[in-house]
Symmetry: D2
Subunit: 507 residues, 4 copies
């Protein structure tokens, strides 16, 4: 992961960037042009406040209180109260990586100059990211339009309230600031909204989930390839010509990937395979994974627009010297992508389950029942079929939509939302369960490969086999399988397995 | 709708084409090149059968029976039995338009030369379309991988079995063929699979639903614009500059459309509007509709690939003189688009409901409660709030996913499906309810506009107003509202309303 | 079905009664005591109106208009407007049987004396039922709290508006009344609410659905027993002792029923069965069906309370000479029973599908693949596995909950609902699909029994076998299966099959 | 909570007992009669094994391996392998309270004598409970038919494997046993199944969730009463006469409870209330809560049967000296109760949200917007509307059914399941969110009561008010609301609030 500084300009942030800043703790810096825009936007705010044009959240209240006049003398008090009263998140708190992603996403959008925020606040995001000061964010309580109940907790820490984590320690913000030589900020006009009126929670965690999703799909391809070797499966459905006549981008990507992984495998030149058609969970895997790649690509493109555009309301239009009410914090378009992705991942999950069940079935493999090494005394991979299908049932449940279950709030003015943070969170929960399922599929595949003895594996599948076997030995005698499963899960989730397989494909 | 002949070549069929052939009964013709490909593909089949390479569904059985050898002497019997035994659809039958769409989609894919079907069968699709002979297709019973239980009913009619509709009359196929001077076809090798092994039911009905979806979104924009006039709403969220900083394609499309519709409206130059921020159902309508446009665009692109690629299995590879087993009938990628679209339409529905409720609320409109013309004796648009929200609850229910609820079938070989026909059908059912909801919103809007008196409407909203009022008079006294609602529904669903508004925008 | 007059007293209506009045067109009559109560209740209304105590819907408006005073001089106009403005249902119209059920349920509740309705209206329900005049009721548009948008259409016909069906003919209400010698009613105080403020649509259709549900569960037991004979299944799980230690009422009912059906079957004394444990879809069928019986029993008890209690608001308390605002039209308790029932039926459906698949699988039956009579040329019951699982996917979808997806309406006063009519309707749709699935299971079972030859069947299974075979012959050669399936469906749905099996158990 | 010993006999365990043993660490003891039954059942097992009657899981394998003979010499090895190979749970581990509940439930069912387990194992459950040795149970991976993948982890600890918690410390089982003076058990015939083949995980955690559910409904009643005082609501819908004509048990229970809580409240004798009809979230609260009480009662009765009956397979029939295959581990009937309960709780949640929103709305309360104490500078309870509705959206999502999403496993033999552990877990997650929502409603209610000043509260509402105010002060100035919310949540979840209110009602 690169540790070079990421230059932010509001226009070029990617999902991969979010990942490196979050997990790699990559430092950030603002471009010169962006600083100029931020300042100009701030100046415009003061100009407009001076003219006393009524502006939502500037010299007027927010939400239902949009009819309340905010006198200039009370800018600080109003903005401080806004931060305090909006701090209404509940439940488990965000991981530090998530907090970093959230701060980064908010920071980047501020650079577009549509906010009118003071530069010191912008700089504070930079400082917190680079000094690794991470405010405590409760994760529940936002309907996603915008994430005001949660982002306010970042605001709390900017004004010296609440708690943060710094150097692995949880402490009052004030104490952390003292250590870091920072002072609480004094909020000016619109600064409260600048901090809270954004979907940075949804989009920041969303970017991390998309990164995980990319990895899980890559893993699904690899372990499918492993299973195909384990099954002694028919590779004709992987023929490039077959896919040329069905040019779905995701399908093409998956089949190219699987072919790469299987390069040099015995499957290609073997005359051993006599199955005319393998089960669809094998035969159609690239189509199924491909559908998930397609859904991912759509969602990433939609989220990418969000990451590099303004979700401010009201929106400062610098060139036109105006500030306008709008609904650009609507996150529904990319949130729907996540809903689709959840269903796509359910298909991936269910076909992984079916492949795993087939690997335990002698009529498909020609091997022992449940891949036991000792048909007389050992039970082998029998009960674990319940583990994967129980997890798949949870994925089925999680894949139900949630984006449109909202109320009309705030004096009936906020009558739309997309529950984006929850939709993102349930997608993450789906992926977490998939690591287990695919891990268990991998355990089956390597066991079958061991039982077959002396196969010539593909480049990628060989690396995959070795990675699994470095963590989990052959199942000779029955043993506590939960331990093996946890090992496989950790191996996949940590990225180690993927790194090994990727490396094998480059060589 | 153009009545010129549509030339088919397997590579350029659009959703719009499907609509014109289905609803406009546009005749079709096959390109010369396509005929050459079809013939070459057929020749290859015979060549391969001669060599006795085992080919699924050619000289081997289908599904679990893939291990059964089919002797050449029994090609006809086998293919006939295949058609008969696969005729297992149930329930209500397809409309003639749907049957046409299905036949067209199957026909187009046959032209790619990946099927190996005899030319006479290809020609039979053309004849049935051009002679308007429409086989009876039951609509339930396909899991969508592929639509074999339903498409077999087209096969039935090709061999002179079953029933068709011709000139508005339902009659035995044989009788219709006699009238039309056609003979039952004699099936040869792979002809059974050629007819049944396709997702043409899903894709054909899917194309029609996408066409309806385009129209319903256009209607949603128009009626939203009408409601904005009715509310005396704030148009600043429609400012182009606001959307320039949030460049979602669908959002941009919706706002451009709404601005067009509202051209010359009093809303633009009026100083009457003093609301700083309207409810999100108004303020965010272009973002919400935009999300649906985005989802539609994704789904259309994915379906377009399907319409112009091969879903055959096994797949004939003409250039390479091979025939390969595959899973190209997997429809999961575009089916997931429909699932997303359903959720998107639920957002459209729910915000239409909220707008409608606001139009009945004096604190938002300054007008009478429930837009009654006589506050003393008349109740007006009160109870109808239940009608729209009851329909929205149905849409909420329909928007739940269904694509991954499948079993493992056919001797455990068919362990994936996408329930595409049902997913398409529930999307259609969502749209049907939306016509009612948007129709009722329109009734509210024109009533409010009448109560306001003498507004200068936009170009499009004026046409919209007039179209509604031509069918439903002002609600002075309470009357049976079901009649009014049905009128509005028919007006919208028939396309008449849309045609009037479109015309107004051109002038 | 008994055609003797049903005496109604408001306290003893059963689901079975609703069925006989609806389907058997059984005439009804009101008890003397009930007439006395209705009159007393009416008198009380006038007394209270005289005192000008503010009463919702009497001398005050309804819904949000509860603050509007209704002058006595305008009682008729107000009540007429109420009926008209509440007529806001849409979509397909109720069957005559459903209309009868709805009118009966409303009529019965009026007899409790909690309504204050004029006797002539009560009598009008009686007349319409006995003269078989059936108002046209659109079925969509009620959120179920109460069914005001739909019941108003009955009100329309009472005042001579709208349309009715009489002697199989659809005609304007006025014409029908003329034929029948009836006059339009003149509405007095609270009469509008008396007609519309009730859940009689939900409860009436609900009662019919529960009746169907009873039958489908009985059918599920019978066809399961048939399948057990077809499988040559192990009957030890049907041993009474096994169920004595697990005393779920439904389970006990199901096993007693199945044992009855299988009386004298070869399964009991045969030494042929060597399976230690059949698949759970067989072994656990009585537990699964039992769970559905339990859910049905709960729902019936809850609905029974509804059928015999007042859902009026405001509620006239005769003994105490008061009239009180309330929410007794809340139907949520029994509606939740229907939601549970839907899930229970999904379990019934899915296990029927699994049993059917097993019957096509040689390793479970020892018979031919897909029960084909000719393994060389015929395909048999192969593709039909898709039919049942496609229908099961629809049932899975329908079983999702819908009761809590409501808005806050009518000036934010009606912020709860239960979508009861839709929940009932989706349960009905589930049952309809189950008739197909169980019908197809039955086709498999009788085919397997034929293939086994000369089995000694149970009393009930023999009758079941004969009933199916009277409609659908043995599948020797492949044929159009849709026709067979439709026959089986009709046989089951019509009640003929059930009647034959029931008769066999009595003898 | 009573700490006296609970005598177990297999026939009289209640949900309350499970709670006291789990949370109160109440010790247990087996009745003399039960010991006799257990021994007799064990003797029968040996008798049958001696005769070599084939018995599933005794002298034959389990699942698909039911065709494998288990020689007597290998009973130990087989049973040990069974425990090991079935240990396949994953994910977060159970709380100690949950582990106690699970062990208790399994122990109780063993006492029916249907298992044939050795007495030492029965005694080991007793010892672990009384010595507070709690095996680590991963919570995911069981499909609930039965909970074999999880209960095996208890088996692990019985044979000295795995880890346990003892005196708050996690340690290897062996170490804990040494401390406690216990020895690893040696498993004999059927002992493996005795330990794992049960739904004790589902039923044990289910009992705890039902206990929580009882409390949350009691809380919902209390806080509703508080809100009614806050609203100055109309109590006529609480009139006993109104409910007498609508005799749903749950409704009657709720209204009696609410009347008790409101005894002596100003609401009863006040002439201040002039609202003819409050919103349904107030007016219908007892009906809505009542529906949840009804659903709870059903579920409790169904679970009670489970707690006191045998879920063994095969089932030992002591009196008849037989052992039979069965499916008594089917948990579908009571699991469906939980599904219904989830939907019922969603209604409770949604109406609590609507009441809370109303309390922030001046037109309903006559108080300040969002109950702010200072309309000029403070925002008050505005944003927190998002918190509750975001949580309600999660509850909506969790309330979707999950019980019927299962596969066919173990060589196609286990083709039914009910996902009971997950269904229970999601119900628990619903309740957890409800504590937040009801806590936030309570914060609103006490704030409104403070703003009204000097109300005479009811007995229960006064105690409720004081309990809340002891933890959360009046909201004068805006402050970090997350802290207040967490306080309210803890107060409710801990039972302290409930204890205070209950105490007030007794006096």
């Amino acid at each position: 992961m690169p540790n070079d500084v990421l230059i932010l300009d509001g226009q070029s942030l990617t999902v991969a960037d979010v990942y490196t800043v979050a997990y790699g703790r990559r430092p950030v810096q603002i471009s010169e042009e962006a600083i100029v825009r931020v300042k100009a936007s701030r100046d415009l705010i003061f100009e407009l406040a001076e003219q006393d044009v009524p502006v939502y959240g500037l010299n007027r209240g927010v939400g239902w209180n949009k009819d309340r006049v905010i006198d200039k003398a009370f800018f600080e008090r109003f903005n401080r109260n806004l931060i305090l009263s909006h701090s209404a998140g509940v439940g488990a708190e965000a991981a530090e990586e998530e907090v970093r992603a959230v701060m980064l996403v908010r920071l980047n959008a501020l650079l577009l100059g549509c906010t009118g925020v003071q530069l010191a606040i912008v700089q504070r995001y930079v400082d917190f990211l680079n000094l690794e000061i991470h405010p405590m964010l409760p994760l529940k309580g936002s309907v996603g339009a915008a994430d005001i109940t949660i982002l306010s907790h970042i605001g709390l820490s900017f004004i010296g309230e609440g708690e943060v984590v710094m150097n692995g320690e949880r402490l009052p913000t004030e104490a952390a600031m003292n250590k870091a030589g920072l002072k609480p900020l004094v909020l000016g006009p619109k600064d409260g909204l600048a901090i809270v009126s954004s979907n940075a929670l949804s989009a920041g965690t969303g970017a991390l989930v998309l990164h995980e999703c990319e990895e899980i799909l890559e893993l699904a391809d690899i372990v499918y390839a492993l299973s195909l070797e384990a099954l002694r499966g028919n590779v004709s459905p992987l023929d490039e010509a077959v896919h040329r006549v069905r040019p779905y981008k995701g399908q093409l990507k998956s089949v190219a990937h699987v072919r790469d992984i299987l390069k040099q495998s015995y499957l290609w030149n073997s005359n051993l395979v006599d199955s005319l058609q393998d089960p669809l969970s094998f035969r159609g895997a690239c189509q199924i994974h491909g559908a998930a790649y397609d859904a991912l690509q759509y969602t990433r493109e939609q989220l990418h627009i969000h990451l590099n555009s303004s979700d401010d309301n009201p929106c400062v239009l610098l060139e036109e010297k105006r500030i306008l009410s709008c609904a650009n914090f609507e996150s529904v378009s990319w949130t729907l992508g996540f809903e689709m992705l959840g269903s796509a991942l359910h298909h991936v999950s269910k076909s992984a389950c079916y492949r795993t069940i087939k690997l335990g079935t002698p009529s498909f493999t020609g091997l022992s029942r449940f891949l036991t090494a000792n048909e007389e005394y050992s039970i082998g991979y029998c009960t674990v079929q319940k583990t994967i299908t129980a997890l798949d049932a949870e994925i089925r449940h999680l894949s139900n939509p949630a984006s449109a279950d909202y109320f009309s709030l705030a004096g009936d003015l906020e009558d739309h939302a997309a529950n984006s943070p929850y939709v993102v969170a349930k997608t993450r929960d789906i992926i977490d369960r998939l690591y287990y399922i695919i891990g268990i599929e991998a355990l089956h595949a390597v066991q079958a490969i061991d039982l077959r003895k002396d196969l010539t594996q593909g480049l990628g599948t060989k690396a995959a086999y070795e990675s699994i076997r470095s963590a989990v030995p052959f199942l000779g005698e029955d043993r506590n399988l939960s331990i093996d499963i946890e090992q496989a899960y950790q191996l996949l989730k940590s990225g180690q397995f993927l790194a090994k397989v990727r490396a094998s494909l480059i060589n």
